[in-house]
């Protein structure tokens, strides 16, 4: 990954307390896994920003290298990677996600 891509990724993930790299956008997710993440965050009523990786091949590959995580979606809270769709579902079901987000958004 070149340093421009890395800088773009770092500025994206810190641009909002909750940031999601996904396929498509909030209104029209282009993949079931991305849709799961959007639905979960919507149901918790937290503000979040997204980036459509289908619009940018550099970011699409770069974000996988950045997090050493091979799949999209990827969810970042306060700049830290917390997981993809499966982990978000688990964290949501256990109540941990609400807790993490409350702390992140409250501080």
């Amino acid at each position: 990954m070149d340093s421009t891509t890395q800088q773009r990724i770092e500025s994206l993930i810190t641009s909002s307390p909750v940031f999601v790299f996904m396929k498509g956008n909030k209104l029209m997710p282009q993949c079931g896994f991305s849709n799961n993440v959007v639905q979960i965050l919507n149901s918790l009523g937290v503000p979040f920003e997204t980036f459509d990786v289908l619009s940018d091949m550099e970011i699409r590959q770069g974000i996988k290298d950045y997090s050493e995580w091979p799949t999209i979606p990827q969810v970042y809270v306060k700049g830290e990677f917390i997981g993809g769709s499966d982990i978000l579902i688990e964290l949501y079901n256990s109540g941990e996600l609400r807790e993490t987000l409350t702390v992140a958004l409250g501080s």
Binding site: G32, F33, E68, W69, P70, T71, F81, I82, G83, G84, S85, D86, I87, E90, L91
Partner: protein, 77 residues
């Protein structure tokens, strides 16, 4: 696409004590649901647990032989 047995074998090669179940969600071999139980996950965050499994499947994921992978990791009961 990739055969569920290949996926299982790749995971067990990386995590020898793992008990792995692979379900082919569409019959096409590229949308898989995988559940892995291993002591190797002890003390690791979920992200790190999944990274261990992704590491074992690096080649299959990079070539998009596996397009979608739903993953569950856990410790032996």
């Amino acid at each position: 696409m990739v055969h569920p047995d290949q996926v299982k074998a790749a995971i067990v090669a990386a995590l020898p004590d793992a008990s792995v179940s692979v379900e082919d969600l569409t019959g096409g071999g590229d949308h898989l649901q995988v559940s892995v139980v291993s002591t190797a996950f002890s003390g690791l965050s979920r992200v790190k647990q999944h990274q261990l499994v992704y590491g074992a499947l690096r080649r299959e994921l990079a070539t998009e032989a596996i397009h979608a992978l739903a993953l569950q990791t856990s410790l032996p009961a």
